[in-house]
């Protein structure tokens, strides 16, 4: 137990020393130097073997001085990492709401108020006993210099899980390193796995690391996640390129496009993605994505020009609210139905061209075009959408989406009753037709429907819903009269 404690202190030294440098010299140069050094070597974190410099605590006093050790012991007696974890219990009643008398010690003591009194009774006991003799308890430096050397990979991983720092440097052979990695993975603790991976990344040749990771999926995922988080794009992409074996990873390359703000660059990037070995299905979607963005760039450039020139009426009347770049396909289609409806199929911005290129289903196309034209109150276009000619030249109304949907969309765009009722009339299901007609006050349709149903009672009832002396009332009366005669 005391060994563990010494080790604990050891840890605090290694990090403390640096803390001290920081606090004292805050000129930027030394900071830069410091951070550079930090970047270059992870070893400093993991290393047991502290520098040969004089040990100095963060308060600047040399290690070993009495005032220093009081603080130190106070902190370790109130709960080291070790005690917290090993007891595996920190709990309720025992959450020491820290007694005031401790306040004479430094911050460090109070910071660790979560020491469970009861559960690690033994520990706490020995520590309390130690408090008074703290200075003597310091161990000679040499003693903890080598105590770690015989830890097995398993022990090392265990220790790291408990939040302790230990040297990984002694795992020199590839074999050892891999055992260590496998142990870490078996421990399911991402924190440790990542730490080991950082070590491997630093000490192994890239090809070897990648090769070994290929058969260690979990570790691989962790490394990818780590690289993603730290933004080491180049290594990440290299890794992805080498390890194409599961769908999920392939897409993470595609994912990168989201980080590219510039549309031209984004387009180039997407183009690059097409060549990658994605699944056939994904590749078609990515191809479409690329084509769409390419189109949008052309349309955007063109339309921005038109808009600023102020020549085109449609843009004057309905200024664009936002750029079309990076919008979904259906939104793009809507846009093109709105601003470029009458263009010939040959132009990139024409709706028919979009429909063909992206194989947009009829239903989707009609819905979008309808919404766009209705918004512009271009009722003739709406009419044309549903008119088909058969080979005899007769015209017929047909809607792939069902006329009740057409009515809803028109209504939402405040279509006048005259327009609305034309489509309500076309709703096939009688009940739906009646419902819609009543709801949107298409009196004519209601009346005609009841007439066809020969429903006198409903017709009488409906009479009160129309205006007195209106044409509709007249109509109802005449129908009622006719019905009587028949």
């Amino acid at each position: 137990m005391s060994r563990a404690r010494a080790d604990e202190e050891e840890y605090w030294h290694s990090s403390k020393f640096r803390a001290f440098t920081f606090d004292d010299e805050d000129d930027e140069l030394s900071q830069l130097k410091e951070s550079k050094r930090a970047v270059n070597s992870l070893r400093d974190i993991v290393d047991d073997d502290d520098d040969d410099l004089e040990r100095v605590s963060w308060s600047g006093e040399p290690v070993g001085s009495i005032s220093w050790s009081i603080k130190e012991t106070a902190s370790s007696s109130t709960g080291s990492l070790e005690s917290r974890d090993s007891s595996l219990q920190k709990g309720s009643s025992s959450y020491a709401a820290f007694p005031k008398q401790v306040s004479s010690y430094s911050l460090s003591s109070l910071f660790k108020g979560e020491l469970p009194h009861t559960q690690c009774g033994q520990m706490a006991l020995s520590d309390t006993g130690v408090k008074n003799y703290a200075p003597e308890l310091r161990r000679p430096k040499a003693e903890y210099k080598d105590y770690s050397s015989d830890w097995s990979p398993k022990d090392t991983v265990r220790r790291m899980q408990r939040g302790k720092v230990c040297s990984l440097e002694r795992f020199r052979s590839l074999q050892d390193k891999l055992v260590l990695l496998d142990e870490a993975v078996a421990g399911h603790d991402g924190n440790v796995i990542t730490a080991v991976l950082i070590f491997l990344k630093r000490t192994l040749r890239r090809e070897i690391l990648f090769r070994e990771l290929e058969v260690r999926q979990v570790a691989l995922c962790h490394l990818i996640h780590f690289l993603k988080e730290t933004g080491e794009q180049k290594l990440l992409l290299d890794l992805l390129r080498l390890c194409f074996f599961s769908l999920s990873l392939q897409l993470s390359q595609y994912r990168e496009h989201l980080n590219i703000q510039d549309v031209e660059k984004r387009r180039e990037f997407l183009k690059g993605c097409i060549g990658l070995p994605f699944s056939a299905e994904d590749i078609s979607h990515i191809q479409d994505h690329y084509t769409l963005l390419e189109r949008q760039i052309i349309i955007e450039a063109n339309d921005r020009h038109l808009e600023t020139a102020g020549q085109s009426e449609i843009f004057r009347k309905y200024p664009r609210k936002a750029s079309i770049l990076n919008m979904p396909l259906v939104t793009t289609l809507f846009y093109s139905c709105f601003y470029h409806y009458t263009e010939a199929e040959g132009t990139f911005s024409s709706p028919t061209n979009l429909k063909k290129t992206f194989k947009i289903p009829d239903k989707q196309y009609v819905l979008t075009a309808l919404a766009a034209r209705a918004k512009l109150r271009a009722w003739e276009d709406v009419d044309a959408l549903f008119t088909t000619k058969n080979w005899l030249g007769y015209t017929k109304k047909k809607a792939p989406i069902g006329f009740h949907r057409v009515v809803e969309i028109l209504q939402r765009n405040n279509a006048p009753v005259q327009v609305l009722q034309e489509y309500v009339r076309l709703v096939e299901d009688v009940e739906t037709r009646l419902n819609l007609a009543t709801k949107y006050k298409c009196h004519d349709v209601v009346i005609d429907t009841y007439r066809d149903l020969k429903d006198r009672i409903q017709l009488m009832a409906y009479k009160c819903k129309v205006e007195r002396g209106s044409a509709e009332e007249e109509k109802i009366n005449s129908i009622l009269n006719n019905m009587v005669r028949n």
Binding site: S35, L88, G113, H188, I198, M327, L329
Partner: protein, 581 residues
């Protein structure tokens, strides 16, 4: 059941800078007043820029170990005025654990040395209610199933060890699913590694049931129909608090409504401490109205009694009851308002249509072809999450969609909402929520029939079965718990094999003195741990089982996160806005 207090009891003037996400969970275990007692002078939320002025010596950052937060902290520290005196000291407290990665990151930014203390506060399980613990680890499901990162399982195992230290070793462990197996293994290993931890606490729990969320992907996708479930579905309950639109809480009404400006959302805490809420939270929403009106009558009758109070003694007695009555009245007013808000939504046409489709899928109707309602919703650009919930539900109820149907949905979604969502679809596929039917066989009907997941005759007012929480659908996860208690899993061996992951049983030896001698009629206590999240409706169903007279088992629930379909799907969606740095 577990009481916890913050560890940072520094006795010097200090300010805490909070990672906003943590304030919710911490709010459940410590009030500001408590922190104040420990010399916390100021509290700020973490955001980039210069730290606010405060006359304190110590600044403590309470943060989750996330790199983006480290960047903010770096910014804070670097902008700190070095010249000011006295200089302020920085400390950092990671919740729930220190992370080497984060410290390394801080080091690379050159600020690691600015922190005098770097500590961790292992907040594993946070008590949410008398029978509910949560780790509030938002991304646990995603990490386990998408990123193969099982760190959250490690925390879960540690949390369970802590729980055992406090409430005794749990003699029996059952589990179903890959993650459940991992957690059980870790627990056993941890126990082996610390043989000294053999404790002498008399065991409170008889059984631990570990359940993977991916064993039952269906339940969270369906719309919850209990009162609490609906509040969560519609308004989202965060750490037992809910924010509601203020209109219905007009100031003239009783209660705290008067303090709020009408434009600010009304914030209410919801837990069992409120008598009325405890009574109605787990009821089917259709049964809530009658309870509320009954209560209203009782309360007005009680107020009426003042007219009958003649003698001074009677009046005195009446007055002494007043505070209680006032509280009951304000609680009633609040819940009547909430119920009204919810009713507006549940009676809407779209809610009804959506529910109809869900129920059709769950009862096995038309799950193998493209659904009209879903297509309509896509065409009308309903929120993507709603679409994904429905499509995933259909996929799960059909053991995967026919390739043609799946391709059709995917195409429609990508064309309408943008191609970049292919990443999200991919995530859902990886999690098993959306997939092609590979085996060519649909197992769902067998599972449904054997586990009686669909009940046609559901009684919402006076339920006799857990299926009331979804008005017909009995949550699979809870059915597994129910069948485990009686008659045991052996009876459903076949179905268990159809569900993903292994099922297992472990025993932990108890010292002879601690073995429970069960009194006749005494209930067994089972701790159900949902790895990957649990919904309020599932909790309601388990509470219903606890209350059943002949049930014989009481349940305590623990989870990695309280979820609903929306928050769950959201956690699986790819974040599409570019990173802030």
């Amino acid at each position: 059941r577990r009481d916890a207090r913050p560890s940072a009891s520094l006795c010097l003037p200090q300010a805490i800078v909070w990672d906003e996400y943590l304030t919710g969970p911490f709010g459940l275990i410590a009030q500001y007043s408590l922190l104040k007692e420990h010399e916390v002078e100021k509290m700020f939320t973490l955001k980039p820029g210069r730290l606010p002025q405060a006359d304190v010596k110590n600044i403590i950052f309470f943060v989750r170990p996330k790199l983006e937060l480290m960047d903010i902290i770096t910014d804070n520290v670097l902008r700190e005025d070095r010249g000011r005196s006295p200089q302020r000291d920085f400390h950092i407290l990671f919740v729930p654990r220190r992370s080497l990665l984060c410290e390394q990151w801080l080091k690379e930014q050159g600020v690691l040395g600015s922190f005098i203390h770097r500590e961790q506060y292992s907040l594993d399980l946070i008590p949410f209610d008398g029978d509910l613990l949560s780790m509030e680890s938002e991304s646990a499901f995603k990490e386990c199933y998408l990123e193969s990162d099982q760190t959250s399982l490690y925390h879960a195992a540690k949390g369970l060890m802590t729980l055992q230290a406090l409430y005794g070793t749990i003699p029996q462990i059952f589990g179903k699913g890959e993650c459940a197996r991992h957690v059980a293994n870790m627990m056993i290993r941890m126990k082996r590694e610390f043989p000294g931890s053999q404790n002498s606490v008399f065991p409170v729990f008889d059984t631990l049931l570990l359940l993977d969320r991916n064993v039952d992907l269906l339940t969270p996708l369906a719309t919850q129909l209990t009162y609490e479930g609906l509040i969560d579905e519609i308004y989202g309950i965060q750490n037992t608090y809910v924010k509601l639109p203020p209109e219905k809480f007009a100031p003239k009404k009783q209660g705290e409504g008067g303090k709020d400006l009408p434009t600010e959302p009304k914030k209410l805490q919801l837990n069992s401490a409120e008598e009325l809420y405890a009574e109605i939270r787990d009821k089917n929403f259709n049964a809530v109205g009658s309870v509320l009106s009954k209560k209203a009558k009782i309360i007005s009758a009680a107020f009426e009694e003042r007219h009958h109070a003649k003698t001074v003694g009677e009046i005195k007695q009446f007055v002494s009851q007043l505070p209680h009555m006032q509280a009951a009245r304000s609680s009633l007013a609040n819940h009547t308002s909430i119920a009204e808000l919810i009713k507006d939504i549940t009676t809407s046409e779209d809610f009804f249509d959506n529910l109809t489709v869900e129920q059709e899928f769950m009862s096995g109707i038309d799950t193998d072809k493209a659904n009209n309602y879903i297509e309509d919703c896509i065409a009308q650009k309903h929120p993507l999450i709603k679409i994904l919930r429905l499509v995933c539900l259909q996929s799960v109820c059909n053991s995967g969609l026919k390739q043609k149907v799946l391709d059709h949905y995917k195409r429609e979604i990508l064309q309408t909402y943008g191609y970049e969502h292919i990443l999200t679809l991919n995530n859902l596929e990886k999690a098993g929520l959306l997939k092609p039917q590979t085996s060519g066989r649909n197992n769902y009907p067998t599972i449904r029939k054997t586990l009686r997941l669909w009940m046609d005759d559901v009684n919402e007012q006076n339920p006799n079965d857990i299926s009331y929480v979804y008005s017909g659908y009995a949550p699979l996860s809870v059915r597994l718990a129910q069948l485990l208690a009686r008659p045991g899993w052996r009876s459903i061996e076949e179905v268990l094999k159809m569900l993903p992951g292994p099922h297992f049983e472990e025993r932990q030896q108890l010292p002879t003195g601690l073995q429970k001698k069960r009194q006749h009629g005494e209930n067994r206590v089972t701790l159900v741990f949902f790895l990957g999240g649990v919904t309020y409706a599932e909790i309601a169903a388990l509470r219903f089982l606890s209350q059943m007279e002949d049930g014989g088992t009481e349940y305590v629930i623990a989870t990695t996160k309280l979820i609903n379909g929306t928050s769950w799907i959201k956690s699986l969606m790819e974040k599409l806005e570019p990173a802030p740095f």
